[in-house]
Amino acid sequence: MHVELYERIWMWAAAGVIAVFLGTIVLTAGLHAIQPPSHIETIDPATLSQDPEFGDPKVTARPDGGVVVSVRAEMFSFTPDPIEVPANRPVTFRLTSADVIHGFEIVGTNANAMAIPGYVSQFTVSFANPGEYLIACNEYCGLMHHNMVGKLIVKEEAP
């Protein structure tokens, strides 16, 4: 196949750019364990109200000083609300939905995952900056979707 010299140079350069992009992703994923939320766990949405964890979801302490936050999303609210977590500690969110698909986005951070009925989403983050954060549903879930918001309060650690 005849390819002009300049075009051949461009094609190698393009392949190089793509290799650099992918290399960066693989390195950060491998070295810092930076991955999208990809937990595999199922739960029956029909009996969610009797579930020991999601029937009355709350913040529970972890032995390592962090917390686990169980969140039930439903039209058109998050429970618990507000959510209080400590700063600079691992915070593991566990999300599920009681009805349709919702989004769980902590605005101004990279905590962003889907709450899907029948499944539990799980991811761990930590918040360096104390303060109040807006939690927004970012998946269309019905006519009051835009009113589905919550609040996260990140508290300074006790000295």
Binding site: P36, H39, I40, T42, M75, D99, G103, N138
Partner: protein, 546 residues
């Protein structure tokens, strides 16, 4: 290429023209739905503004733009190219049957949306449940497009029997790759809609697994993007250099690019599901690799198409490094549309690389950034190319001069201006966290003024886009009913390669590449889907919160 084909019999382009007509009608209605959304998000209190109108218009805009406008335009373009390069459409009757099937299906689906019974957005994620006619109508549209693909392939095979040892005409090569990709992609959609959604919407089964449905949707949803982009590329490679007065820089690389799209654009769907539970991180990483690989043919396209345009400028006497750009026909509606479409794709493509970046995706997932992004790559790269191609097609299909050529010349620039305002604002608002698809960006007062100003600028952009869409529809309708009849219909002429390929090469072996493409899809999806199916799962009953 065209020289070998006899002039078409009168009326031979009627089938193509009918498809373009439906496409433009869908585009017009969808544009009106679009401007309503932009105003609503910015909290402009126009009369009749309501939550149900907003979410209904998001659904109608998405379905009419992404499924009806594009599919009908591509079918029409395909027929026009088959007639022009092969001198035939084999199975015209089947073509008309498919046209009516697809048209009736589209009208049925659109009617349930406009009646407020299918406000499920164009992604129709269960357990949101639409009216059964929404799913059935969409199925008829897709079945119509399958028949179209069959007619196109039959036309090619009939031509091939009479022309052994000759490479496929380049515009047909691109369309055939598009059609094979479409069969591969819509297999996933057919499983989702026919096996899962339709029985569930009719009440034959009680529950549905939302993650499994989403997985089949995105099996279809990303190659859908390339189903739009590849015909746009057919125009860039074959029509644009000719309109600019140049030559196609490389024939074999053009064929390679279309085959690479056929291979790589389906096994990538998990990059739309990075934030989903139920799919392991390793499989998401694998789909990240294939997503980045599919950037490659677009990089090659950037060189080949721009080099073809440089040839055009030099043939017109340009001598310096960049003065060839000024000699290009910036006043030609086709050329201007496609050139601006390509410019948008440069930015949109890099935005796409960010979306696909595995972990970085969390910063932008389901925010207004995504709206900003796909209005660059689809709302401009694809839609503006299709509008420009419509200006090029109409005199050839109808045998009429364009009416209001001044409007047609200005319209692409107006579109580009509107899109710059719209897209940049939403990209920034998305980085600041504005969720996509919200009736009101104030989020019932919780927004904290993070995106004040930006949604208003985007709304201004939306109004400009609507004006531009209106100009386009006016030119098309005026040409159709009142364009001056040409004594001799305008002819289809395509770019001639600098070094034409004389014998079918490896990139013409469609059977081989189809087999490889199926293998890649199986590799990307067989295990994750099997894994989901083996897991204990709990289905969801339907919800209709609209």
């Amino acid at each position: 290429m065209t020289a070998a084909v006899a002039p078409p019999a009168p009326g031979s382009h009627r089938l193509a023209a009918a498809h373009i007509g439906v496409a433009v009608a869908a585009f017009g209605v969808a544009s009106a739905m679009g401007v309503l959304q932009g105003l609503s998000i910015a909290d402009v209190n126009f009369p009749w503004r309501s939550e149900s109108l907003y979410y209904l218009s998001v659904t109608a805009h998405g379905v009419l733009m992404a499924l009806v406008f594009t599919t009908f335009f591509i079918m029409g373009l395909g027929y026009a190219l088959a007639q022009a390069t092969l001198g035939r459409i084999t199975g015209r009757g089947a073509g008309w049957f498919a046209f009516w099937l697809a048209a009736i299906g589209s009208v049925a689906a659109a009617a349930t949306i406009l009646m407020g019974q299918s406000t499920v957005l164009y992604t129709f994620y269960p357990p949101l449940q639409a009216h059964p006619l929404f799913y059935i109508g969409a199925t008829l549209l897709v079945v119509g497009s399958w028949i179209w693909g069959g007619v196109m392939i039959a036309s090619y095979r009939a031509w091939r029997r009479e022309h052994p040892g000759v490479p496929a005409p380049l515009p047909m090569h691109g369309m055939l790759a598009t059609i094979i990709l479409w069969y591969l992609a819509t297999f996933g959609l057919a499983v989702e809609v026919v096996v899962m959604l339709i029985p569930w919407s009719l009440g034959w089964v009680a529950t549905i697994d939302p993650v499994l449905a989403r997985t089949f949707f995105w099996w279809f949803g990303h190659p859908l993007v390339y189903f739009w982009l590849m015909p746009a590329y057919v125009v860039w490679y074959n029509v644009l250099p000719r309109a600019a007065g140049g030559r196609l820089f490389s024939d074999p690389l053009t064929r390679m690019v279309f085959i690479l799209f056929l291979l790589l654009s389906t096994p990538v769907g998990f990059h739309h599901q990075f934030a989903d539970p139920g799919i392991s991180a390793g499989w998401k990483l694998l789909h990240t690799f294939t997503t980045y690989a599919v950037l490659y043919p677009s990089f090659v396209t950037a060189f080949t198409v721009i080099a073809s345009l440089e040839v055009a400028g030099r043939l017109k006497g340009a001598k310096g490094l960049f003065d060839w750009i000024g000699r290009l026909p910036w006043g030609d509606p086709l050329f201007a549309s496609v050139a601006l479409a390509m410019l948008s794709f440069t930015f949109g493509g890099f935005g796409g690389a960010i979306n696909a970046a595995y972990a970085m995706n969390s910063m932008v997932h389901n925010t207004a950034w995504i709206m900003g992004h796909f209005h660059l790559v689809l709302g401009t790269t694809v839609a503006l190319t299709f509008m420009g191609a419509t200006y090029w097609l109409l005199p050839r299909l109808l045998g009429r001069d364009l009416r209001f050529p001044g409007l047609a010349r200005a319209q692409p620039y107006l579109w580009f201006l509107g899109m710059v305002l719209f897209s940049i604002s939403y990209h920034i608002a998305g980085l600041r966290g504005l969720p996509r698809r919200v009736y009101s960006a104030a989020l019932s007062g919780a927004d904290g003024a993070r995106w004040h100003g930006l949604t208003e600028i985007a709304a201004v952009g939306g109004v400009i886009l609507f004006l531009s869409a209106l100009w386009f529809v006016i030119v098309v309708v005026a040409t159709w009913v009142g364009g001056r009849r040409l004594a001799t219909p305008a002819t289809f002429e395509f770019a001639v390669p600098l070094r034409p390929v004389t014998a079918p090469g490896v990139w013409d072996r469609f059977g081989l590449w189809t087999a490889v493409a199926i293998g890649l899809v199986a590799l990307a999806y067989a295990w994750p889907i099997a894994h989901l199916l083996m897991h204990p799962r709990f289905g969801s009953p339907p919800f209709k919160p609209f």
